[in-house]
């Protein structure tokens, strides 16, 4: 089961235990904010061509705040958990915060220790272990790539 990976007596790789924590698998199996926003301000489709992972991110912006954010798509546990956690954190946030969160998360993926301890990153902190798997960093960043694109489009529109 989901939590047997990190608390069973068997010797699994500790790096692996930190990659596939309960919280990450929980977001993967029960993604938050899954679906599409009605009447979105912006809609971004992001594809990782090397692995086929895809995310469609829809946002509704009201008075400079993210009023609603949803995602659909398919892919590995890391890409799907990361976008679920991201959507949770973005809900009802000012747009300025969204850009900061994206930057902070990118720092975390590059191994920045301070970013890993940043409590304002919410569940996303559970993904800090991904930085030890360089080939998986792209997976974690897919949702944020979509967010950056969305912010660019909103910026261009306003």
């Amino acid at each position: 089961m989901a939590d047997s990976g990190h608390d069973s007596g068997d010797r699994t790789d500790p790096k692996l235990d930190s990659l596939y924590q309960h919280l990450i698998l929980d977001h993967y199996k029960s993604p938050r904010n899954r679906g599409e926003v009605d009447d979105p301000t912006v809609e971004i489709h992001m594809l990782n061509p090397t692995c086929g992972d895809e995310i469609k991110l829809t946002l509704r912006v009201e008075n400079g705040r993210i009023a609603e954010v949803k995602h659909t798509g398919q892919g590995c546990s890391i890409s799907q958990a990361a976008v679920s956690m991201m959507s949770q954190l973005l809900d009802d946030r000012p747009l300025d915060d969204a850009g900061r969160i994206a930057e902070r998360f990118t720092e975390m993926m590059h191994g920045d220790e301070e970013a890993k301890r940043d409590r304002s990153m919410g569940d996303l902190r559970a993904l800090a272990g991904v930085s030890k798997f360089p080939v998986r960093v792209k997976c974690a960043l897919l949702g944020f790539d979509a967010l950056q694109e969305a912010l660019k489009e909103i910026g261009a529109a306003t």
């Binding site: 047997s4 068997d10 546990s77």
Partner: protein, 417 residues
């Protein structure tokens, strides 16, 4: 160095491959990504070293001793490759960077001239992207149209459609001999026979990237016009491969890259071309790579491809049985059901984990597999999956390697099951 290989023993052969003697994260390496590239035997590594340590010079240019030796080694390797595939003549073997460049050579040097509006190129959806995209590029410039052989649920070509797909408009037929994504050994003979009977003008190219390592290839018996392959998938170095072409076809084609080596006379307003194969080898070639490929031909030739294929069947059969008995209906193994229809490739999906998560966890247990679309997005689309995991076996893999794969998949189950 193994001298007597009549008794095929993967454990003995394994000792010839230095890269296999290592640990990954504290666990001995199980290398199951051979369809991507094979490991290199010491004989190939030593041939590269020897070339650079004592023979390094440019070929076909110098009068000096080193150039003579380099040229001899380079052309000697060409002859070895030619003999290995039963080419009529060594001059029918054009060195390329690999299969991809070999296919592009035919697409651009033959396709651009031969194709016109409404002409047809026949491919299958089982092709690697390197046998799709060059034809799309050429089709878009010439107005030619691509037609497709479909595949069934077991990864076999649907050949009932052939009468509809092949006709007087068919000018090029380009097909893979063995599939990299599913491992299918394709019934190319049937298609070749049909094409020759119903589209006599068509040229036929086979992509042999996944075939040469496992099967004896006889280009004359196959009756094709071109055969493309890579060195690194058959124990040779990366960056070297070849296009075999029927002499008359190669002679009729225009050069596709200009430079040194490929010319005869250069004037201000025109140039004339060197004879085949040099006409298609502009610039200083990958001399060391060719020499290394020659050594790979010697090595794999000594082991014997019949023995390799028989061994792969044993291990693949064992692996499939072990995977199915461990995971039952939660695993889907793609490709042909009959072992004799399959090479060393075992692509699979688990219903509880994504291929990338599978590959990451297997890697942490020292088991190297590939996850992704395997440069065969049309196959993934056909089966409605974004990606698969793929274990591919070769001469040095054992049933213990298959056991390690199954056991590492148990760890995947612990996290995701």
């Amino acid at each position: 160095m193994v001298t007597d290989l009549r008794a095929f023993d993967p454990e003995v052969l394994r000792a010839d491959f230095p890269a296999l003697e290592q640990s990954v994260d504290g666990r001995s390496l199980v290398y199951l990504d051979n369809a991507a590239t094979t490991q290199k035997p010491r004989a190939v590594i030593e041939a590269l070293d020897h070339y650079y340590e004592s023979d390094n010079a440019n070929v076909h240019r110098g009068i000096h001793e080193l150039s003579r030796r380099a040229t001899e080694a380079f052309e000697g390797a060409r002859s070895k490759v030619a003999g290995w595939i039963n080419a009529g003549d060594a001059t029918e073997v054009v060195w390329t960077r690999g299969t991809t460049e070999a296919i592009n050579l035919v697409a651009f040097a033959h396709g651009l001239d031969a194709l016109g509006e409404g002409d047809e190129i026949l491919l299958s959806i089982l092709e690697h992207h390197s046998n799709i995209v060059p034809w799309q590029l050429v089709a878009s410039r010439t107005g030619a149209r691509i037609r497709w052989i479909e595949i069934d649920d077991d990864g076999e070509w649907v050949l009932d459609d052939l009468p509809e797909l092949v006709g007087p408009r068919t000018k090029i037929v380009a097909l893979n001999h063995v599939s990299n994504a599913l491992g299918t050994i394709n019934p190319v003979e049937r298609v070749i026979e049909h094409v020759r009977a119903h589209a006599p003008e068509a040229i036929i190219l086979l992509d042999g990237a996944q075939a040469l390592a496992h099967m004896d290839i006889d280009v004359q018996a196959l009756g094709v016009d071109f055969y493309a392959f890579s060195g690194h998938k058959v124990c040779g170095p990366t960056g070297i491969g070849a296009l075999w072409g029927r002499k008359d076809r190669l002679e009729a084609m225009s050069p596709w890259q200009g430079g040194g080596e490929m010319i005869s006379v250069v004037e201000r307003d025109h140039s004339t071309w060197a004879a085949v194969p040099h006409k298609f080898e502009a610039g200083t070639p990958n001399i060391a790579g060719a020499v290394g490929m020659g050594a790979a031909v010697d090595y794999v030739g000594r082991v014997g491809k019949r023995a390799i294929l028989a061994h792969e069947r044993d291990v693949v059969g064992y692996a499939i049985e072990a995977l199915e008995s461990r995971f039952g209906d939660r695993i889907r193994i793609w490709g042909p059901k009959a072992l004799e229809r399959r090479s060393g490739v075992v692509p699979f999906s688990l219903d509880f984990a994504h291929p990338h998560d599978i590959a990451t966890i297997l890697d942490s247990e020292g088991v190297a597999v590939r996850a992704g679309h395997h440069c065969a997005q049309l196959v993934m689309k056909r089966y409605g999956v974004p990606a698969t995991a793929r274990a591919s076996f070769y001469l040095y893999n054992t049933t213990e390697d298959a056991d390690r794969l199954v056991s590492a998949l148990g760890t995947v189950e612990k996290f995701f099951g």
